[in-house]
C-alpha cells in the first residue's frame, strides 16, 4: 500500500510538471494555431537567465520575476520577428521554423552557459511531508507546483472564455480574416498570445528546473511528455492540459514502479493511443466528428 501511495504522489508531482509545459503549448495553440516546439527552447533560456540572476543576486524571487518578464519579452519578439512571416503559409513551415528555433536556442545556450547542467533552487523545501512516522514522496515544493499549475489553468480558461481579449485571441486564431473585418488587431493578438504562452512556459521552467537541473538538453524529456500531455488532454483545453498531465504522470509512475523504467516511453505511447482512439481530439475535445 505504501508503494502505491508513493507512486501516486510521485505521479501527481511529475504530472503537474508535464501539465505546466502542456499549458504553455495549449496557450500557443489556442492563440495562433501553431504547435510550438520552440517553447522548450524559450523556457530553457529564461530558466538559465533566472539561474544567473539568482546566482549573482542571491534572491530566488528576483530571479523568478526576471524570468517571467524575459518570457513575455522573448515570446513577443519571436512572434514579431520570426513567426509573423510564416503564420499565413503552410502550417508545416511554421513547425519547421519552430524546430529550427529550438535547435538554435539550445545551441546558443550551450555557447553562452556551457553544456554542464547546473543546480536550480526550489521555491520551497523539497523534504517530503511527515505523516504518521513515514515521510511521503510529496513536499511543500510539490504542493506549490500543483497549486500554481491549477491556478494558471483556471486563469487561462477564464481568460479565453469570459474576457474580451480572450475572445479576440480565439477569433484571430480561428478566423483571422473575419476577425480583421470586425476590427480585431489580429497581429497584436498573435503577439499577445505568444507573449502569454512564453510567460506560462517560463513559469513551467522555473517549476521544473529543480528536479531536472538546468542545461541545454535537460528539459527535453519534460517537453516531450508535456507535448504528449497536451495532446492527451486536448490542445484547446487548459483543464485538459492539467488532467492530461496528471493522468500521464500517474500512468508513467505506476509503470516505472511496477514494471520498470525501460517501459516508460512505451507506456506513454499506449496511454496516448488508447485515449486518442476513443476521442481523437483529446480528452476534453469539443469538436464533433463529421462523418459523411
Amino acid at each position: 500500500m505504501t508503494r502505491f501511495i508513493d507512486l501516486t504522489l510521485n505521479g501527481i508531482s511529475t504530472g503537474a510538471v508535464y501539465a505546466a509545459v502542456a499549458l504553455a503549448l495549449v496557450m500557443i495553440w489556442r492563440a495562433t494555431r501553431i504547435v510550438n516546439f520552440a517553447q522548450g527552447g524559450m523556457l530553457m533560456i529564461t530558466t538559465f537567465i533566472a539561474s544567473s540572476v539568482i546566482g549573482s543576486s542571491g534572491s530566488y524571487w528576483l530571479g523568478f520575476a526576471v524570468a517571467l518578464v524575459c518570457g513575455l519579452v522573448l515570446g513577443a519578439v519571436v512572434e514579431r520577428v520570426l513567426m509573423r512571416r510564416v503564420e499565413g503559409g503552410p502550417p508545416l513551415n511554421a513547425v519547421i521554423v519552430a524546430l529550427g528555433l529550438l535547435i538554435l536556442l539550445e545551441a546558443g545556450a550551450g555557447m553562452i552557459w556551457g553544456n554542464t547542467p547546473r543546480s536550480f533552487p526550489p521555491a520551497f523545501s523539497i523534504r517530503g511531508y511527515d505523516v504518521g512516522g513515514t515521510t511521503l514522496l510529496f513536499s511543500p515544493n510539490d504542493t506549490f507546483t500543483v497549486l500554481v499549475v491549477v491556478a494558471v489553468a483556471v486563469g487561462l480558461a477564464l481568460l479565453f472564455r469570459y474576457t474580451a481579449v480572450g475572445l479576440r485571441m480565439r477569433a484571430s486564431a480561428l478566423a483571422p480574416e473575419v476577425a480583421r473585418l470586425l476590427g480585431v488587431r489580429v497581429g497584436r493578438m498573435f503577439t499577445l498570445g505568444w507573449a502569454l504562452a512564453a510567460f506560462v512556459g517560463s513559469l513551467a521552467g522555473l517549476l521544473v528546473a529543480p528536479s531536472v537541473f538546468v542545461g541545454p538538453n535537460q528539459f527535453d524529456p519534460i517537453l516531450i511528455f508535456g507535448f504528449t500531455a497536451a495532446v492527451l488532454g486536448g490542445l484547446d483545453s487548459p483543464p485538459g492540459a492539467v488532467v492530461g498531465g496528471i493522468l500521464l504522470g500517474l500512468a508513467l509512475s505506476y509503470v516505472s514502479g511496477y514494471e520498470g523504467a525501460s517501459l516508460v516511453t512505451l507506456a506513454a505511447l499506449v496511454v496516448l493511443i488508447a485515449v486518442l482512439m476513443i476521442r481523437p481530439g483529446g480528452l476534453f475535445s469539443t469538436r464533433k466528428e463529421r462523418r459523411v
Binding site: L7, G110, T116, F213, P221
Partner: protein, 435 residues
Amino acid sequence: MRVDKHKVRAVGAVGALLVALVVAGCGSSSSSSSSAPGVTATSITFGTHQPLTGPAAPGYSEIAPASQAFFDYLNAQGGINGRKIHLIIKNDEYNPTQTVSVVHQLVLQNNVFGIFEGLGTPTHTKVVSYLNSSKVPDMFVASGCACWDNGTAQPYTFGWQTQYTIEGKILGQYIKQHYAGKKIGVFYQDDDFGTGGLAGIKDELPASSIVSAQPYQPGGTNVAPQISAIKAAGAEVLVDFTVPIYTALGQLTSFTLGYKPQLVVSNVGIDPTTVGGLLKTFSKGKAGTELIEGAVTDGYLPSSSDLSNPWIALFKKIHDQYDSSAPFDGNVEYGMANAYTLAQALQLAGKSLTREKLIEAVNEKGAQLTGPGLVPFRYSKTDHGGYSGVEIGQVRNGKIVLFGGPLVTEPTSGAPITPYTTAQPAPPSSGVSVP
C-alpha cells in the same frame, strides 16, 4: 521550338545530382601515402570521437580537450621521439550512426595514425571491427566495458580504465567486510556500465543480502519510483552505479524521502565537483556535497582534489596553462592520465614508428608501465583490459580521500582480490618515463 519540359526536368534533376556529388567530393583529401598514415618525422596525428553536445555531453566533453592540453605540454618540450602529437576531436553526439561516420572520416579523410580514447560503449562497439579489419590502432577506449579486452580477436583495440566488473568486485568485497549482515540496494544504469558493476557486486556478496536492484534508463529524469522501491525494501546500504546526473537525482529523491542509507558510489558517478555542483542549491553550504558526504567510492587514479600528490600538481599546472576554461575535476584528470599512457606507448614504440610497432609496444611492455595510476596495467598479447584494480576511498569534507591501499583482481568470477603494494612513482620533470 518548344523544349520538352520532361527532358529538361530529367536532365536538370540528374545534373543537379551530379553537381551535388562533385561538390561533395571537393573537400576530400588525396589518398594516404603507402608508409604509415598520420605520421611524419615531426608529427603524429590521432583522432577521437566524443559526445561534445547532447544529453551525454556533461562532463565527458571535458576529457578530450584535457588530453589535448597534455599533448600541448609535451609538444612544448619537443614532443615524443621528436614528434608533436596532434589530436583531432570529432563530435558524435553519442549517436552510433555518427560514430561510424566520423571514425571513417578520421581514418579515410584525415588519415590519422590511430584512434585514441573513443568514448562510450554503445558508440565505440560499432567501430571496433572496422578499425581492426583496417588495422588502425584503437588505443585506450574511454569505457570500462569488457568489450575491449580481447587481444586475440581484436588485436588493435585496447581498453584503459578499470573494468566495471573489477570495480564492482572490489566495492562488493569492501561492503562484505564493513557492512556485513546489512541489506543492500543497488541503483544502476541499464547498460554495460550498470550491469557490469552489478555483476561484480553479486560476485562478492551473497544474493540474499541484495534486497533490491533497480535499473534506470538514461534520458528519463524521474528516478523516484526506483529509489522509493529501494527504501521500501529496507536497504541500509545504497550502491550507485550511476553517472553524476543520476547520482544527484537519486540523492534528491532520498532527501525528499528522508532516506539516509550508507552510499557506495562508482568512481564514474562520484566526482564531487560535478555532483556537488548539481546539488549546490539544496545543501546548506556552498560546496553542495553534503548529500554525498561519507559516501564510499573508489579510484584507480589519485583524487583530483589531492593537490599534495605530485601528479595532481602537474596536471593542475598543465590545466591552468592549456585548458583553463574547464573546471579541474575528475574528467580533466582522466583525459590527462590517458594521454600520458599514450605518450608512454609512443615512446616505447621508438623513433621508426609503424602501427604494428605501437601495438607490439603495449602488448610487450604495457604491463610494466607506471604513471599516475595507483594500480598496474594488465596488458599482454591476449589481455587488453587496462588498469587491474582500484583503491577504496570516501568523500570527506567534500573531497575524495583514498585509503586502504590499492587492490587488484581479474574480471572473472571468483578470481581473488589481492593488494598491490608498489608505491606510485613521482612524475618525471619533463616528458614521460618508460621502463
